[in-house]
Amino acid sequence: MPEALVEQPRVRPRIRPRTRIRFGRVAAYLFVGSGALLMVLPFLAALFNSLKSHAQYIEVPPVILPDPPQWSNYSQVWDRAPFGTYALNSFVIATAATVGNVLSSAMVGHALARMRLPARGALLTAALGTLMLPTVVTIIPSFLMFREFGWLDTFLPLIVPFWLATPFGIFLMRQSFLAIPQDFQEAATLDGAGPWRIFTRIHLPLVKPALATLSVFTFMASWGAVLEPTVYLTSPDKLTLPLGVMGLRGQFVGNDQLVTAAALMSLVPILVLFVVAQRYFVRGAMSAGVKG
């Protein structure tokens, strides 16, 4: 069948791609579908673990299905620590960090890609260099600085750095701005638009996918951060979710089933957020190509 079609492509030009695509589609579904299963099945296994009693969790030979499911593990987690407060804290910090990083990285990326910025090369090099500095050791100097600012035990050390643009954000935004054809800017300049207007009205709408990408990434990074919140936050009512989850670990007592339950619960808000955001996120990504 396909051979016959190849011989007369001009007569029925629409059929060939359609069948091909259909064939490719089955393969794509298989590939994408099995991959997706592989991605999420472990979470199901973890869910089973979280519903076991401790005795069942450590049993040899192991039991796969919890019997009976200990739903009380989940309520126990809530009784042990104020997870609602932790979730709110994480949400506030991650949102503030995300807004800041998207704004500032877009501005800096724009300056690097689209404006006559002096010492552009040096700045880019510096940004790349910053990425190479292991943050683990910079914790001590940073801590000393934030202490001088009086910011210890506040959310500021976890938010403000994001308002000063991150190297990753800068690279991502610069890359996207570079991809926009020069003509847009020239046309706008002839129309009398200034740099700010070109940035906000013309260039920013064209890099929506990158903005969405950066938002999701920043939010995740902030949401999952462990080291910085550990060091900066001390008051019990200021902790973030990962700290809350890890806080359940005992030095002696085995309660991995509880920690697993808490870990899975800490995943729910960000999953919901992602599902809600995905519509915009994906639509942004889809519309980009058409204009580019």
Partner: protein, 313 residues
């Protein structure tokens, strides 16, 4: 910051008029550029220059974080040269990066190509790939345990179906790094996939049409249009993931703690131990510098090689 410049919109609007000298317009634009770059300038001063200066100094000292640092010259660096544990950690890190970076790039690109179609249930499918991405390492540690735990993990259960003896995964000195890399790909592929998706969307559809007319097959189109089309993003992904992988910390910190033995002791974890467990912040700073140098060299090599294969549209 966003509020103030809005008022000034009118000033630069006048700039392009022919009665104003061109260099003045350029000066105005430069000022604007500086203003746009201000957040990063502040970043450089506060979050780069200051820690770098402090670390540069601390590298030459014995600093236990409690009492004042005392100058010890090159002691830390000469100790590093003979510190076998440090070199082991560097080898471990390189091994980890060597598996993880290429594997993740290939998987992410393959996924992006597959997901870049108008399939039904696409949001749902795409969402599935994001579940590990949005999970923090703390969550991942417990989920990965459900898979790779030698006793109750599902990985060994699957091997058992095929009659294969159980593996020790993270508890095996041989398998620990490949397993960590596999878990890292599982968590990271969806992330990089998005970058590739955006790049794929940016490739003009006409090119594919033209290639089709010229009789190019699917592989040919992928090879000659998709691959060069996403080469810029590939480069970005490679550089960024190399840099972040060489600094990998959280994953091993929460999952293996460097074990078994020193089999998964990565350099940053070793550095953390020196600084935060053994009170040797000066030595940790010296390690940071050597690691920085290694990353710098590798990045420079990548930048050099970039010209050979990256095409900007």
């Amino acid at each position: 910051m966003a509020g103030a410049p809005r008022k000034t919109l009118r000033t630069p609007r006048r700039a392009p008029r022919s009665d104003r000298p061109a260099h003045s317009a350029r000066r105005v634009e430069r000022r604007w550029a500086m203003l746009f770059a201000t957040p990063y300038l502040a970043h450089l001063v506060l979050l780069t220059a200051w820690p770098v200066l402090a670390l540069a100094y601390l590298g030459f000292t014995d600093y236990d974080t409690v009492s004042s640092p005392s100058w010890t010259g090159l002691d830390n660096y000469s100790r590093l040269l003979g510190d076998e544990a440090f070199w082991t950690s560097l080898l471990n890190t390189g091994y980890f990066a060597l598996i993880f970076v290429p594997l993740q790039t290939v998987v992410a690109l393959a996924l992006a190509v597959a997901l870049n179609q108008k399939l039904r249930f696409m949001p749902l499918l795409r969402g599935a790939y994001f579940v590990p991405v949005v999970s923090s390492w703390v969550v991942m540690a417990y989920v990965a345990d459900a898979v790779f735990n030698p006793r109750l993990g599902s990985a060994n259960a699957v091997l058992d179906w095929f009659g294969i003896d159980p593996l020790m995964w993270l508890d095996s000195p041989v398998l620990v790094i490949p397993t960590l890399a596999l878990i890292a790909v599982w968590k990271g592929a969806g992330y990089m996939m998005v970058l590739f998706l955006a790049a794929l969307q940016a490739i003009p559809q006409e090119r594919y049409e033209a290639a089709r007319v010229d009789g190019a097959g699917a592989w040919g189109r992928f090879r000659h249009i998709t691959v060069p089309g996403v080469s810029g993003t590939t480069f970005l992904v490679l550089v960024l993931s190399t840099i972040t992988t060489l600094q990998a910390f959280e994953q091993v910190f929460v999952m293996t703690g460097g074990g078994p033995g020193d089999a998964s002791e990565l350099t940053v974890l070793y550095m953390y131990r020196q600084g935060f467990e053994y009170f040797q912040m000066g030595y940790a700073a010296a390690i940071a510098w050597v690691l920085f140098a290694v990353i710098l060299v590798l990045t420079l090599i990548q930048l050099r090689l970039q010209k050979r294969w990256v095409h900007y549209a």
